[in-house]
C-alpha cells in the first residue's frame, strides 16, 4: 500500500463528500496517523525532505566483516599491557562463543600517538590512525549477539534476526537520492566475496524492493545492466522504443493510472543507468596521484581490489548517491582467512588484512576531505562486534566479544578529533558512556536529518523502526 499523508490526500482529491468519506475510511484504518512517507511510484528515489535540517547528505559505511579486534587496533589499554598473561579478573568459568579463555593478551601491534591530537592507535592500521585529527572514535559500543550473521544483521538492520530493512534501505526510503541515473543505495562487496550476513546487510526487508541496495563493485558490474550479447545497439534501441509504443498504447486504456505510468518510466531510468553506471566504474579520468593515494595499482591484488572499491565509493558519493556501503572482508573463505575473524592465529591473519583495509580506507577519507565532500558526507567505519582481551584457551587468537568494541565516525556533523566512551581497563566491556547499536543508528539517522522515532514503516501489526523501540542520540559527538 502506498503511504499517504493527509495534506497530499486532500490536495489530490479535491473536496466533496466522497473525498471526505474516503478520508474517514483511511483515518479509521489508521493510515493517516502514522508518519509513513509518501512514495511516488513513478519516481521512488526522488529526493525527499528530511525531518529537519540535516548535517549529512550522504553516508559511506566501511563495514569490517568478521569482527575487527578493537584491542589490536584503536582501543589502547595500558592496563592490559601491564597485566599481560594474567587471568582476566571476573572471568571465572566464563564461556565465550568458542568456549574457554586463557590469560589476558596485550595488543599484537604496538600503539603510539598519532595526529596532532596524539590519539594512541596501533601499527595494524597506521594510515587510518594518522587521520585521527579528523576522526571521532566511539570506544563503548556493545551489541546483542556474539554470532557473526546475527551480529551483522544487528549492525546493518537493528535486529539480530533475518528479514529486517537495512540502514541504507531506511535512509533511501526516507530521503530518496540526489541522482536519478544511479541507484540510490549501492552496496560494494569486498573483491573476495560477500560478508557473513550477505544480502541482509543491504536488503529492504519488508520495505518496498525499490529500496534494496544494488550490489556491485569495481570488478563485478550490476547484473543485467548491459545490452545482452548478440544484440546490436540499433536493435536494442529499437526494441526499447517499440516496447514503449506498446506500453503507451496500453496506457490509453488506463489513463491516470500511476502504476502503469511508473513502469514506463522505470525503463527510461534503466536506460539512463546503462550509461551512468559504466561511467562511474570507469577510472580512466582519475589522475595518477589519486590512484596512488588509494593504491589501486598496488602489487597486492587484494589491496588494489579494495582500493578500487574505495575509489568507486568516492565517485558514487560525488554523484549524489545517498548511501554507499563498502565491505572489507568476505566470509566464504572460512574463519579469519578472508575476514577479521581471528580466532586461532590473529596476528598471522591480521598481517594480511591490515594492509588491505588501511591505505585505501584512509585514502577515501582524505580524498573526500580534499574535495570538500566530507563536509556533507558521513563516513562510518564499523564491525559487528569486538574481540576478547584474552587469547582463547590454547590458541593465538581472540574470541568474539559483544560487550565492547570500537567504531569510527568522520565527516559531516561529527566532532573531530574526538573520543567518546570507553571500555573497562582491559577492553572487555563498555564501561563509560555505553553506546548500543540502536544509539549508534539513532545518531546516524539524526545526522541525516531524520528522527529515528518518526522514521517508521507499518509491517504486520507494528510501525517498525530501524531502532526498534530503543535508541538515544549520542549527543556528545555532534559538532
Amino acid at each position: 500500500m502506498t503511504p499517504i499523508n493527509r495534506r497530499d490526500l486532500l490536495g489530490h482529491m479535491g473536496s466533496g463528500l466522497g473525498a471526505m468519506a474516503m478520508a474517514e475510511l483511511l483515518n479509521a484504518e489508521g493510515l493517516l496517523k502514522n508518519d509513513q512517507i509518501k512514495i511516488d511510484p513513478g519516481a521512488p528515489h526522488a529526493a525527499r525532505n528530511p525531518h529537519f535540517k540535516p548535517r549529512a547528505r550522504n553516508v559511506v559505511v566501511i563495514f569490517c566483516s568478521g569482527a575487527l579486534s578493537h584491542i589490536d587496533s584503536f582501543d589502547y589499554k595500558p592496563e592490559l599491557i601491564k597485566h599481560h598473561d594474567t587471568p582476566l579478573p571476573g572471568s571465572d568459568g566464563l564461556l565465550t562463543f568458542q568456549g574457554a579463555n586463557g590469560n589476558l593478551q596485550q595488543p599484537l601491534y604496538p600503539f603510539r600517538p598519532r595526529g596532532e591530537c596524539g590519539k594512541m592507535t596501533s601499527e595494524l592500521l597506521p594510515h587510518i590512525g594518522e587521520l585521527s585529527d579528523d576522526l571521532c572514535y566511539i570506544h563503548s559500543l556493545h551489541t546483542k549477539t556474539a554470532t557473526h550473521g546475527p551480529g551483522e544483521n544487528c549492525m546493518s538492520t537493528g535486529y539480530i534476526l533475518d528479514g529486517f530493512p537495512s540502514m541504507g534501505a531506511w535512509a533511501t526510503y526516507a530521503l530518496g537520492s540526489e541522482n536519478s541515473n544511479l541507484p540510490a543505495f549501492v552496496a560494494i562487496p569486498d573483491p573476495r566475496g560477500v560478508p557473513q550476513s550477505s544480502l541482509n546487510n543491504w536488503g529492504s526487508g519488508f520495505l518496498p524492493a525499490a529500496f534494496q541496495g544494488t550490489p556491485f563493485n569495481a570488478a563485478t558490474p550490476v547484473r543485467n545492466l548491459n545490452r545482452p550479447s548478440g544484440i546490436s545497439e540499433k536493435e536494442d534501441l529499437a526494441t526499447r522504443a517499440f516496447l514503449q509504443t506498446l506500453n503507451k498504447e496500453h496506457l490509453k486504456r488506463y489513463a491516470g493510472d500511476t502504476e502503469m505510468a511508473a513502469r514506463i518510466s522505470s525503463y527510461e531510468m534503466a536506460a539512463r543507468m546503462q550509461l551512468s553506471v559504466p561511467e562511474v566504474t570507469n577510472f580512466s579520468s582519475e589522475p595518477l596521484h589519486i590512484r596512488k593515494l588509494y593504491g589501486t595499482d598496488d602489487p597486492n591484488v587484494l589491496k588494489a581490489g579494495f582500493a578500487r572499491n574505495c575509489l568507486l565509493a568516492r565517485r558514487l558519493i560525488e554523484r549524489g548517491v545517498r548511501f554507499v556501503q563498502l565491505f572489507n572482508g568476505a566470509y566464504a573463505m572460512g574463519e579469519g582467512k578472508g575476514n577479521w575473524d581471528g580466532h586461532k592465529q590473529l596476528k598471522t591473519d591480521y598481517d594480511i588484512h591490515g594492509p588491505i583495509l588501511d591505505q585505501p580506507a584512509a585514502a577515501l577519507i582524505r580524498d573526500l576531505k580534499q574535495r570538500g565532500l566530507l563536509e556533507e558526507t558521513l563516513v562510518v567505519l564499523c564491525t559487528e562486534f569486538g574481540r576478547m582481551p584474552t587469547f582463547q584457551e590454547g590458541t593465538k587468537g581472540r574470541d568474539h566479544n559483544p560487550s565492547g568494541f570500537t567504531a569510527i565516525l568522520a565527516g559531516a556533523g561529527v566532532k573531530a578529533p574526538f573520543t567518546h566512551g570507553s571500555t573497562d581497563e582491559f577492553g572487555w566491556k563498555a564501561a563509560l558512556d555505553p553506546v548500543s547499536v540502536h544509539d549508534f543508528h539513532a545518531t546516524i539517522l539524526h545526522l541525516l536529518g531524520l528522527d529515528h522515532t518518526r522514521l517508521t514503516y507499518y509491517h504486520n501489526g507494528l510501525k517498525r523502526r530501524l531502532t526498534d523501540v530503543h535508541g538515544h542520540i549520542v549527543e556528545p559527538i555532534l559538532s
Binding site: T2, G16, L17, G18, A21, M22, L25, E29, G30, L31, L95, F97, Q98, T145, T147, P150, L161, D162, G163, G193, S197, S198, L199, N200, G205, F206, L207, P208, A209, A210, Q212, N224, L225, I231, E235, A238, T239, F242, L243, L246, N247, H250, L251, Y254, D257, E259, A262, R263, S266, Y267, M269, A270, M273, Q274, Y331, H459, N460, G461, L462, K463
Partner: protein, 902 residues
C-alpha cells in the same frame, strides 16, 4: 486495557485477601483507604492513575493494580511483597529502576507500610473494577449476522455486491460496467492459476452464450491442479516457507518440499480449512506428517555457541517464530510482541505468549521420517509390541549378574551406530585391561573392521596394544591396557554405520587373569558425531564379586527371555523404512516452560501450562500434557466456530488475493494496530458463509468470483480516480502488476517451454556448492530442468532469486502476509536484459514460427488474449522486418499489457 480478560487468569490473586486475614499478626492491620491509598496518590497516580497509565500500569483501581503493567509481572501478590512488582520497584536500590523515577522518593516508613499491607494480604475494598467490562476490539467480537442491503438493485447479483454498492454510494461513487470477456478470462486465469488462458480457451469462452458461462468457467478453473500451485504460494509467503535454513550458514533444507507439496494438494483437494489448520499444527496425529512442516518453516540458526545464554536465546527465537507464524497465519495477531511484555495493542498478556510457547516446546527444528498410511499402522503395532516387551523385561530379575573377568554380554535395543565407546570409571585394580571389544550387528562382529582409539595406551608393551582391542584374538597376550590407573576409554569407529544390538567384552577370556577388571563402566553409542547415547553399563549389574544374579538362569526367566525374543521377532517383521524424510520438526516431550521476565532467557519466572490465548478461551491442559495433545488442543481451539478470528482472517486473506487489498488492509494483523475493515458487514457475511460451506476455500472463491464486484472492468474513470485513487471502495476491479512467479511462468508458457510436472524436490537456479557457509551464485544459463513452475523453484532464504528477486519476492526472513508492489529500474534491467528472458524470447520466436498462424497474430492472442488491431499489426510487422521476430518477442515479454492483471 481489557480488564475482563485478565480476571480469568488471576482469580486466586483476587480471592486471596480475605483468606489472608486469618493469619493476622498482632496489632491493627494496615488500612488501605486510610493509609496506603494516600501514599500511592501522592507518588504514583501522576503517571499510573486515571489520566495516564505509563507502561500500562494503573494503581487507582484494584483489578489493574493487582494485575500490574506491561512487563507481565504481577503488580500485587497478596501476602507476598517479595513477588509484588509494586513493592519491588519502590524499594529497589538501583536508582535507574526505582520508582518514582523523579520527584520525591517514598520514605522508608511509606515503603515499610506498603510492604506490611501486602504481606497482611493486601486488603482492598471491592471498587467494582473487577467487573468492569470493555467492548472487545471488533475482530474479537462474535460474527455478526447482517442482511445484505440493496438486494433489489439490478447491479446486485450477490450479497457481496449489495455491501459494496452501499459503501460506494456513501462515497458518492457508482460501480463500473462489466469487463469484456477477454479481460475476464485473463483475469480469472492469472488470478486463479497464475498462468494465461490459451487462445483456444479464450475463443471458447467468448463464444459461450449460455447464461452461466462465467460460472462454468470459474468451476473449470477451480478444478485445475494449476489452481493449487498458484494459491499455495500465497500461503507459503505467509508461513515464510524456504528450502534453506537462513542465517549466515544458510544451508539447504532439502526435505522441506513435502510440506510445499502438501499445501498445493490441500488447496487442490479443497481440504476444509479447519482440517487444514489441524493438519499443519498436528498432522502427525492424523497421518499427515508432511503438514507439520508448518511448525518449522522459519529460519534456523545452526551456528553453535559455547555461551549458554546465547544457545537459550537461539531456542527462544525458534519458539517465537512458531508462535508468531501461528498467530499471523490463523489468527491475524502479532503475538511476538508479548514475548517481552503484555501486548501493547491487543488482548495478549505476556503469560499467553508463554502458554503458546509451551504448546510448541516439544518441537525442534529437523527432519522426521515420512511414513505412508500403511507404515503408520505398522508403526503403531510396533509400539504396542514395544510396550509388551517393556512389560516382560520388567518381570525379569532386576539386576543382571555381576561383572565377570572373562566374558560380559551387553544387550540393548537395536540402535544405529557409527561409533561405540566403552568408558571405564573404576577397576578392581590398576589400569583397566580389555582383551577384546566385540560389537554385533546381527551375526557380524562389526568391530573387526572398525578403527580403534583410546584415552591413552599402556606404554611399550607388545602384549597390550591399542590394535589388539579388535583383532579378533582373545586373551591377555592380545589385549589393551589404559595408561591411567582405574580409568580410561576405548572407542571403535565403525567402517560404515550399522544397526547394532549387543557388545561383548572381557578382561581375559582365557581366564588366567582377574585383575584390571572394570567394575564401573558405561557402553555408549554414537550415530551423529559428538552425540553419545548410553546403551548399557554396570549400573544394573550386581556388584563385582557377588555370587548372586543367577536368577536369570531360573526357568521363569528363561521363559520370559524366550517370550521377549519372540516379541522382538514379531517387531522386526513389522519394521518399516520410511519412504522419505520430511523437514517437519522433531517432536519430543518437553520439560516445563517458564514465563521470562522481559523476555530475557536468563530470567525465568513461574511455570506456564500449555494453552491458547486467554481471549479465545482455555485448553485446560496440565503442565505436563503430552506433546502432541498440546498441539491438537490448540488447533481445535483455533479452528472452533466459536472463534471469530479464524474465519474472518481467512475470508479476508482470500479477498486480499483476489482484489489486491483485503477488506482489512493488513491481512496478518487484525489487532487494534491493524486496519479496520472497509466493509465490516461484508467481512462477517463472508466469514459466516465460509463456515456454512464447511470451511470450503473453493466455495469461498466461487462466491467472490461470481459477484458483479469481481467482474467489473479495471479501466479507470475520473470520478473514481478523484475520490478513491486506491480503489479501496471497489468502483472498478483494481488492476495491478503481477507477481514474480506469474510473470516467469507466463514467459515460459509463451515460449512453449513450461513444464507442468508437479511436486517433488524442485529445482535450483543457483550453482551447486558445498561451502560450509553457502554462497549462492546464479546459474549462467537455464535449461529444461529449470522450466517448471516457479513454486517448485528452491527458495533460498534471504537470497534474491536471480532476475525475479527484484519483483518484491518475500525473502522468507519474516512472515509475509502481504507483498509489496514496487516498480524499479533494476526490475526493468533484469526483465529487459536478463539471459533468461533473452533466451525465452528466442524460444518464443521459434515457437511462433511453428504455430502455423501469423506470428504477430498468435503472439497477441497468446500474450494478450486478443488479436492485434490493424495499426498494431502493421507497426509490429514493420518492426519485425526492420529488426527481428526475437526482438518483437522480447518487447512483448516486457510489456505492461502482459505483466498487469487486467
Amino acid at each position: 486495557m481489557h480488564l475482563q480478560r485478565f480476571l480469568w487468569i488471576m482469580p486466586g490473586a483476587l480471592l486471596a485477601p480475605s483468606s489472608a486475614c486469618l493469619i493476622q499478626e498482632t496489632g491493627p492491620m494496615v488500612d488501605f483507604g486510610q493509609e496506603v491509598a494516600p501514599v500511592l496518590a501522592a507518588h504514583c497516580y501522576r503517571c499510573h492513575g486515571p489520566e495516564k497509565q505509563k507502561m500500562g500500569l494503573r494503581l487507582d483501581q484494584k483489578a489493574a493494580a493487582f494485575l500490574g503493567g506491561d512487563s507481565g509481572e504481577p503488580g500485587i501478590v497478596p501476602a507476598n511483597s517479595a513477588r509484588s512488582e509494586l513493592f519491588r520497584r519502590i524499594s529497589i536500590p538501583d536508582e535507574l529502576d526505582r520508582m518514582p523515577p523523579d520527584g520525591e522518593p517514598l520514605s522508608g516508613e511509606e515503603i515499610a507500610l506498603i510492604k506490611r499491607w501486602i504481606d497482611e494480604g493486601a486488603a482492598w475494598e471491592d471498587d467494582g473494577s473487577e467487573k468492569m467490562e470493555e467492548t472487545p476490539h471488533w475482530s474479537f467480537q462474535p460474527l455478526g449476522d447482517p442482511t445484505s442491503p440493496l438486494s433489489d438493485d439490478p447491479w446486485v447479483a450477490s450479497p457481496i455486491d449489495g455491501y459494496v454498492l452501499a459503501r460506494l454510494r456513501q462515497g458518492e461513487l457508482e460501480p463500473s460496467s462489466e469487463a469484456d470477456r477477454v479481460s475476464l478470462i485473463r483475469r480469472l486465469y492469472l488470478d486463479l492459476h497464475g498462468l494465461l488462458p490459451t487462445p483456444k480457451q479464450v475463443d471458447k469462452f467468448i463464444r459461450d452464450n449460455r447464461e452461466d458461462a462465467w460460472g462454468r468457467l470459474v468451476d473449470e478453473a477451480l478444478a485445475s491442479p494449476r489452481y493449487g500451485e498458484r494459491w499455495a504460494q500465497h500461503w507459503l509467503d505467509v508461513v515464510q516457507y524456504a528450502d534453506s535454513h537462513g542465517f549466515e550458514m544458510n544451508n539447504p533444507r532439502p526435505n522441506a518440499y513435502p510440506y510445499r507439496d502438501y499445501v498445493i494438494k490441500a488447496f487442490n483437494s479443497d481440504t476444509p480449512y479447519n482440517q487444514f489448520i489441524l493438519e499443519q499444527l498436528a498432522g502427525d496425529s492424523v497421518g499427515k506428517d508432511a503438514a507439520t512442516g508448518f511448525l518449522v518453516t522459519g529460519a534456523w540458526d545452526q551456528v553453535e555457541s559455547k555461551e549458554p545464554a546465547y544457545t537459550a536465546l537461539q531456542r527462544q527465537d525458534e519458539l517465537t517464530a512458531m508462535v508468531n507464524t501461528t498467530g499471523t497465519a490463523f489468527l491475524g495477531l502479532t503475538l511476538g510482541c508479548a514475548r517481552c511484555h503484555n501486548h501493547k495493542f491487543d488482548p495478549v498478556p505476556q503469560r499467553d505468549f508463554y502458554a503458546m510457547t509451551a504448546v510448541f516446546a516439544g518441537v525442534q527444528h529437523g527432519e522426521r521420517p515420512l511414513y505412508s498410511k500403511e507404515d503408520a499402522i505398522r508403526l503403531s503395532k510396533q509400539l504396542e509390541i514395544s510396550a509388551e516387551i517393556e512389560d516382560l523385561r520388567n518381570e525379569l530379575p532386576s539386576l543382571r549378574p555381576a561383572i565377570s573377568s572373562s566374558r560380559n554380554l551387553e544387550r540393548f535395543k537395536p540402535i544405529r551406530a557409527r561409533a561405540v565407546r566403552m568408558r571405564i570409571h573404576s577397576t578392581n585394580s590398576a589400569e583397566p585391561c580389555i582383551d577384546e571389544l566385540e560389537v554385533w550387528s546381527n551375526e557380524t562382529n562389526v568391530a573387526l573392521t572398525a578403527t580403534p582409539s583410546s584415552s591413552g595406551d599402556y606404554a611399550n608393551n607388545p602384549k597390550h596394544k591399542l590394535e589388539h582391542i579388535n583383532d579378533g584374538q582373545l586373551g591377555n597376550p592380545r589385549s589393551w591396557i589404559s595408561n591411567k590407573p582405574g580409568s580410561g576409554w576405548i572407542q571403535l569407529d565403525l567402517s560404515e554405520p550399522a544397526i547394532i544390538d549387543r557388545v561383548v567384552w572381557g578382561r581375559d577370556r582365557l581366564q588366567r587373569f582377574e585383575d584390571r577388571t572394570p567394575t564401573n563402566y558405561t557402553i555408549e553409542v554414537s550415530a551423529v558425531p559428538g552425540q553419545w547415547t548410553i546403551v548399557s553399563g554396570s549400573q544394573d549389574r550386581l556388584p563385582f564379586g557377588t555370587q548372586g544374579g543367577k536368577a536369570t538362569a531360573s526357568l521363569n526367566s528363561h521363559e520370559l527371555t524366550s517370550h521377549i525374543a519372540e516379541a522382538e521377532e514379531r517387531q522386526r517383521a513389522l519394521m518399516v523404512t520410511p519412504s522419505a524424510m520430511v523437514y517437519a520438526g522433531k517432536l519430543r516431550q518437553p520439560g516445563p516452560t517458564y514465563r521470562l521476565y522481559r523476555g530475557d532467557v536468563m530470567e525465568k519466572r513461574e511455570i506456564v501450562a500449555p494453552d491458547t490465548l486467554s481471549a479465545l478461551g482455555r485448553l485446560d491442559l496440565p503442565l505436563d500434557a503430552p506433546e502432541q495433545e498440546r498441539r491438537v488442543a490448540l488447533a481445535l481451539g483455533i479452528a472452533s466456530p466459536a472463534n471469530p478470528l479464524t474465519p474472518r482472517v481467512m475470508a479476508n486473506r482470500i479477498w486480499h488475493h483476489h482484489f489486491g487489498t483485503g477488506i482489512v488492509s493488513t491481512p496478518g494483523d487484525f489487532g487494534t494496530n491493524g486496519g479496520t475493515p472497509s466493509h465490516p458487514e461484508l467481512l462477517d457475511w463472508l466469514a459466516r458463509q465460509f463456515i456454512q460451506d464447511g470451511w470450503s476455500v473453493k466455495a469461498l472463491h466461487r462466491t467472490i468470483l461470481l459477484s458483479n464486484t469481481y467482474r467489473q472492468t479495471s479501466s479507470p474513470n475520473t470520478a473514481g480516480l478523484a475520490r478513491d485513487a486506491e480503489t479501496r471502495l471497489l468502483w472498478r476491479f483494481p488492476p495491478r502488476r503481477l507477481e514474480a512467479e506469474v510473470i516467469r511462468d507466463c514467459i515460459l508458457q509463451l515460449s512453449g517451454c513450461l513444464d507442468l510436472s508437479m511436486g517433488g524436490a524442485g529445482f535450483s537456479t543457483f550453482e551447486p556448492n558445498d561451502n560450509y557457509v553457502r554462497v549462492y551464485i546464479p546459474k549462467e544459463s537455464l535449461g529444461p530442468a529449470e522450466w517448471r513452475r516457479m513454486v517448485y523453484m528452491h527458495k533460498v532464504r534471504m537470497e534474491r532469486a536471480p532476475l525475479f528477486g527484484s519483483f518484491d519476492l518475500p525473502d522468507a526472513g519474516q512472515v509475509c502476509p502481504k507483498r509489496n508492489q514496487s516498480t524499479t529500474a533494476i526490475q526493468a534491467l533484469n526483465l529487459f536484459n536478463g539471459t533468461f528472458v533473452i533466451d525465452q524470447a528466442k524460444r518464443m520466436a521459434s515457437f511462433l514460427k511453428t504455430s502455423g498462424g501469423d506470428p504477430v497474430d498468435v503472439a497477441y492472442r497468446s500474450a494478450y488474449g486478443r488479436p492485434p488491431n490493424a495499426t498494431e499489426s502493421s507497426t509490429a510487422r514493420s518492426f519485425i522486418t526492420e529488426e527481428s521476430l526475437v526482438a518483437f518477442c522480447r518487447a512483448i515479454l516486457n510489456s505492461n499489457e502482459l505483466v498487469f492483471l487486467p
